[in-house]
Assembly symmetry: none
Homo-oligomer: 232 residues x 4
């Protein structure tokens, strides 16, 4: 995870003032929570374990997060939702073709989310949200809504500029989302089992994403581009 917090190990380099610790606690707890949630799922993770891994007592956790669900929400915000500001900026300043933009977007998403522990969040939400509506709702608001909005803007740009043929946006959005969700689910469930000996080649996520972008863009692009196609 990129905003990695100081681990709870007492380095003893400096006395580590109590003040300092307080500031670090939420981050340490969220880090511990993220890895445990990913490892064992939301329901199966005990808050005491999270606290332990963060090097504090169970009670301390509740000093910073009012409940287990709130802890989860904080983890989502810290690890996924926070990226959209940056990505929206990238969209606004992007210069190249929309196809490149889609390709870049998918790669970025893989690098920043898919390849990191954060992808475990997505997996976990897909797996357990039916049991924890609050979690589903949080994820919808914080991730799906902004994600959909961004993808919609990108596709619209492609259509407006004549790069893409006219599309039913409501569904084509999911043409981009689906492979990303799939590859995450795969990585966290079948992946560890399917790459093993004798079962054919494992699914390399980056190649899959790249390949998926190729096929997808071919499907979206205007077969008779106005002047010059963005792909030679």
């Amino acid at each position: 995870m990129s905003p990695s917090h100081t681990p709870p190990v007492d380095t003893d380099e400096a006395p580590i003032k109590r003040e300092r610790r307080k500031d670090a606690r939420p981050g340490e707890l969220m880090d511990a929570a993220l890895s445990l949630f990913v490892e064992k799922g939301f329901a199966a993770t005990r808050v005491e374990e999270v606290a332990q891994r963060a090097g504090v007592s169970k009670g301390t956790l509740f000093l910073y997060f009012p409940s287990k669900v709130d802890l989860f929400k904080a983890v989502v915000r810290e690890n996924i939702a926070g990226r959209f500001a940056e990505w929206n900026t990238a969209f606004d300043t992007f210069q190249g073709s929309t196809s490149d933009m889609v390709r870049y977007c998918m790669q970025q998403w893989w690098e920043r989310i898919g390849a990191t522990q954060a992808s475990g969040i997505t997996k976990l939400v897909m797996s357990e949200s039916s049991q924890f509506p609050e979690i589903a709702e949080c994820y919808r608001q914080e991730v799906i809504e902004p994600g959909n909005a961004l993808i919609r803007k990108i596709l619209q740009r492609g259509i407006t500029r004549g790069e893409f043929r006219p599309l039913n946006l409501d569904y084509t959005i999911y043409s981009i989302i689906a492979p990303m969700i799939f590859v995450i689910m795969w990585k966290h469930s079948m992946g560890p089992c399917c790459g093993l000996s004798g079962s054919g080649p494992a699914l390399d996520p980056e190649t899959f994403v790249s390949n998926q972008a190729d096929v997808l863009l071919r499907g979206l692009e205007n077969p008779s581009p106005p002047h010059s196609s963005p792909t030679p």
Copy 2:
């Protein structure tokens, strides 16, 4: 689910010998467990509920399955039955274009698996296999391997016949699988939450599958077909 077991409702048409009931018990319990595991996940399903839905007492369940985990494994294994014999035959006798075949294949799959309770198995496997690697392995052998083989054959047919451009089969296979897995996960997790007011239109699975086939085939088809239409 295909190997549907006699439901626990006591039809009383025939006396239903005790013998019969006894033989049917495990199946009834697994049916009940399947629907509950799909509905609520493994951890959140109480064995008492399973027993109740199967029409027996909690104690009886433990007569047939030594533990909840064993019940879970039995449920998944029992329900991962292949329908691949039938589908392989359909492939061998199919007459139309490969694009039609792909489209047909995806629709069939939705109708026979995605829209039925059987999709719950897929959801379950994706959700819980990280905790139960044997489950993943079993699913790989029984479903993924034969499924991949079939799709590979289809794509190869398209390439051979010049309908599709040259493709990296190892990855393009997943271009077909990904949306199917995605739509099942969506249906069982975010779907119930995302179709609500104010969050845009709900995702209609059939439209999604159809739309997905369109985009995908456009991406696979040979832009300059050898002579004319793939239809013979």
Copy 3:
């Protein structure tokens, strides 16, 4: 308490069938709960203690009562609310003067409630209901409403028959209730302390009730009775 349940001690006289125990459990638990609630208050009583005193495990208690509050409600119903049917019958068949009825009523109430452990319930409700609205509401419904209704009927009878002067029933009801509540509160709070050496005579509840009835009835009775006063 009058409907005293078999104590959990294993008398071993008979094998005590499991079935038998099941029937006895709720009563045993309510008995244990009553004495503990009275001893320590509602909030300060731990359900585990109740279970222990009833000779069962914590889990078993929840087999019979869905929550601590529900256990309390059951105790109220068992020990207080149940008496009103009997008392209403006594009212309907009473032959003597209304003053005698009031006196009888107050004495009965003391004997059946005030002098027994059940009075602890009333004390406890007065003490803790502000913190547990459900408890207050239960007591209101199950005890106060029927109690008020009964007293109102009695007073009305006295007025109708010319034995009592015209009264504002809404408030005179409380002239009867107030001393009963007071004596219970006293018994459970100041009583144990105020009867001690050097602090004057202790308050004997029965004498108090009797004395209270005297003063009260003098205040209620018609000074110029129609023909002959019921009290000489």
Copy 4:
């Protein structure tokens, strides 16, 4: 409460020397504790709330009171201050009839105690003294003994002057006390719940007290007064 301590609001009119604040702390804490204990009971009041309301931190509270129980005891002791000197004077100089005196006494008591926060102390003592016998003993000494003595003097005056019939003072005293205690308990416990819709009229304390005085005095007064008016 009469010995009201400087509130924690920092008026800043005067610099308020640290010395001053330090001296005022215990009183401010006890004031805060009193209102919270009354509001929510002893167990349900969190020390943090008390500290907050007193404008200090949780740790500071423990600087002045070694434990929550000690705080409670201090609160009760501090607030059971006698107003009896004043009332005894009033008794010695009162000119009217003893009935008027009783009525005046009850009204005064309601206005000065019952209607104020001080009634919370009585509620508190009645509610919790069974857990804290020292509290009961303290209340007995400081309030009950002098109160009883005063009422006894009043009743004796009535008897001596022929206004009241001969009475068993030891018990008649409680005919006056009982309704006062009752109305306080009611106000602090069932009152908030029983005045609600559908449960009959709420109990208005002042009307109750007045009504109670009427009934009571009718019961105490001599039916055949020596000459005429009780005024000498």
